[in-house]
């Protein structure tokens, strides 16, 4: 079997030749380590007054942003191929650098949805970017934002389509790119408003929240059509619906505001003959049955530090969902021993891989995930993941 047949067999709950392994490689720190490159330290350049203006203009140019961003993910796929993964996720984003006195650099990224992302770099010049706060705390601000950004949403979809298409064309013969349409509807709704404000609106102005959800659902359906147009076979959707101890919102509320949106996403993906995998961090046992009901084909992450156990998830959903992930990135894939990683891989395969329907992967990505340990994970999967799985 080749990587694509192997992955798709698992997605169909059939037993492939061995358990497929998916990479979540995306952070420049990880990519640059694998490919022996040095990072381009944009945050450091932006701190220097003499370079600041020129670098900012460069990073705000659509063509350069796309080129830089494509380069990062081309490197991620090169790295994933180098380590022996069968598949790797690919995520498109589009942002603009804007002045912000609250930021240590004085500049932050604004995404088109209304979030602020802070950037930083490590001592090797690798940039990292993280969501920090909302730009549209009130109804008026949100309405004004989406009205002003309307042209950018069209550009986002066109750019994302071109990005995924090019990655699939240039790497699709060596690895399966999993097109991640991110962020998802839930995150696009609350993160532009802020969780506290969004929660208040859920209780106090539900009609406004429904309008926000409807807007982002329509946009997301167009976005995911663009990702599918690139030719990817498996589409990833994602929303962090959970936190360490449970769902962020009461499951009934998630159903009330977002259930129909998720059903429409799954229907669209299935009408195009593709599979839909859903990413959510956190402790989400209470949402698993809804994922099945909404029509998701699989879930990725199952965060072990939030108490997610593969065996328990499999017992709960059976083979109604493909399971992907669960290997710890807080300790195991940062500084675990080879033996610990091998044990974790064997345990994951034992708990979830019988009958197909399991793809081994890290639970998540972050810049401290160690490529050498990812390699050990892949090697252990190759050694212990051959079907039939031993009892």
């Amino acid at each position: 079997m080749d990587f694509e047949q192997r992955f798709l067999a698992a997605m169909n709950h059939e037993e492939p030749d061995r358990v497929p392994v998916m990479g979540l490689i995306m952070d420049p720190a990880t990519v640059n380590q694998i490919l022996h490159r040095r990072g381009v330290d944009f945050p450091r350049m932006l701190r220097r007054p003499v370079l600041r203006g020129a670098v900012r203009r460069l990073l705000n140019a659509n063509w350069y942003w796309n080129r830089m961003y494509y380069g990062n993910f081309a490197g991620a796929l090169e790295g994933a191929i180098e380590l022996g993964f069968d598949a790797n996720w690919t995520i498109y984003a589009s942002m603009q650098l804007e002045p912000d006195p609250e930021s240590p650099i004085g500049l932050v990224w604004h995404d088109v949805f209304g979030r602020v992302w802070e950037m930083n770099s490590d001592d090797r010049g690798n940039m990292s970017v993280n969501y920090t706060r909302a730009l549209c705390a009130t109804e008026d601000l949100w309405e004004a934002w989406v009205a002003a950004k309307a042209p950018l949403f069209d550009r986002l979809i066109a750019n994302a389509t071109a990005f995924h298409r090019r990655l699939a064309r240039e790497y699709g013969d060596r690895i399966l790119p999993i097109g991640y349409a991110a962020p998802g509807i839930f995150e696009n709704c609350w993160q532009a408003i802020g969780f506290v404000n969004f929660t208040k609106l859920v209780y106090e102005k539900p009609e406004f929240v429904k309008r926000v959800v409807a807007f982002h659902t329509d946009l997301y359906l167009r976005y995911i059509e663009g990702v599918m147009a690139s030719g990817v076979e498996v589409v990833l959707g994602g929303d962090d619906l959970g936190q360490k101890t449970g769902p962020l919102l009461r499951p009934e509320l998630i159903e009330k505001f977002f259930g129909e949106s998720y059903r429409r996403v799954a229907d669209l993906v299935h009408r195009n003959g593709k599979k839909l995998v859903f990413h959510s961090c956190g402790r989400i046992y209470e949402l698993l049955d809804r994922f099945v009901d909404w029509g998701f084909d699989g879930i990725i992450t199952m965060e072990p530090t939030a108490g997610m156990e593969l065996g328990r998830v499999r017992a709960q959903v059976g083979h109604d969902l493909v399971l992907i992930g669960n290997l710890d990135v807080s300790q195991l894939l940062v500084r675990g021993t080879r033996e610990q990683i091998e044990d974790a891989v064997k345990r994951a395969i034992r708990d979830a891989a019988r009958g197909g329907g399991y793809v081994l992967s890290a639970a998540h990505s972050h810049p401290f995930v160690d490529p050498e340990r990812l390699r050990w994970m892949v090697e252990a999967a190759h050694t212990h993941g051959r079907y039939p799985i031993a009892a």
Partner: protein, 213 residues
Amino acid sequence: MRDALVQKLGTALLELDKGAVMDAARGLAGDGPEGAKQGVDAVTAALATVGKRFQDGEWYMGELVYSGEIAKDVLDLLGPQLSGGAGTNLGVVAVGSVEGDLHDLGKNIFVNYARSSGFEIVDLGTDVSPAEFAGAVRKYRPVALGLSCLLTVCAGGIRQAIEELERQRLRDVAKIVIGGAALTEEFAREVGADAFAPDAVTGTEIIRGWDEA
């Protein structure tokens, strides 16, 4: 009349009925310091129930956050009516997100819940350096110091803050509780924190336990 308002306030808060809560609070605010005090006590009691429901998995983060927001509005209304300032004071807790981490959602949920539960909170904000944490411990002598960290890449800031407290011989002044998506119980042990809190309610209960000890 006062008893009815106090009961209405507590019940309505647990039903997340903000309108009814604020109606009752306004009634108690007009009833002088004793009415305000009983109103604040009712909020504290209701939040204890909120915390139990959250820890038992009956309530979710959204409900925890929204009840905390309502409680904050009540305390803003009743606080100035109290004759001796704020009501119950369980002690000072200093809290901040560690250096490099600009996230404050988890920290703010904790701040809101712990403050409404009776602790005096010194909120150090985000991107707090080890020296600033040490300075706050020296200045406020808190019951506990809370270190929040969402990002894995910033988790080293927890270790550095604790090392700075040790270097300045302040480690024994305050117990340290850490919390945030990037952290675990194991990490807390590794860096020498006194406790790990997976959520705001647990964090508040841990500190309450230290305070009562």
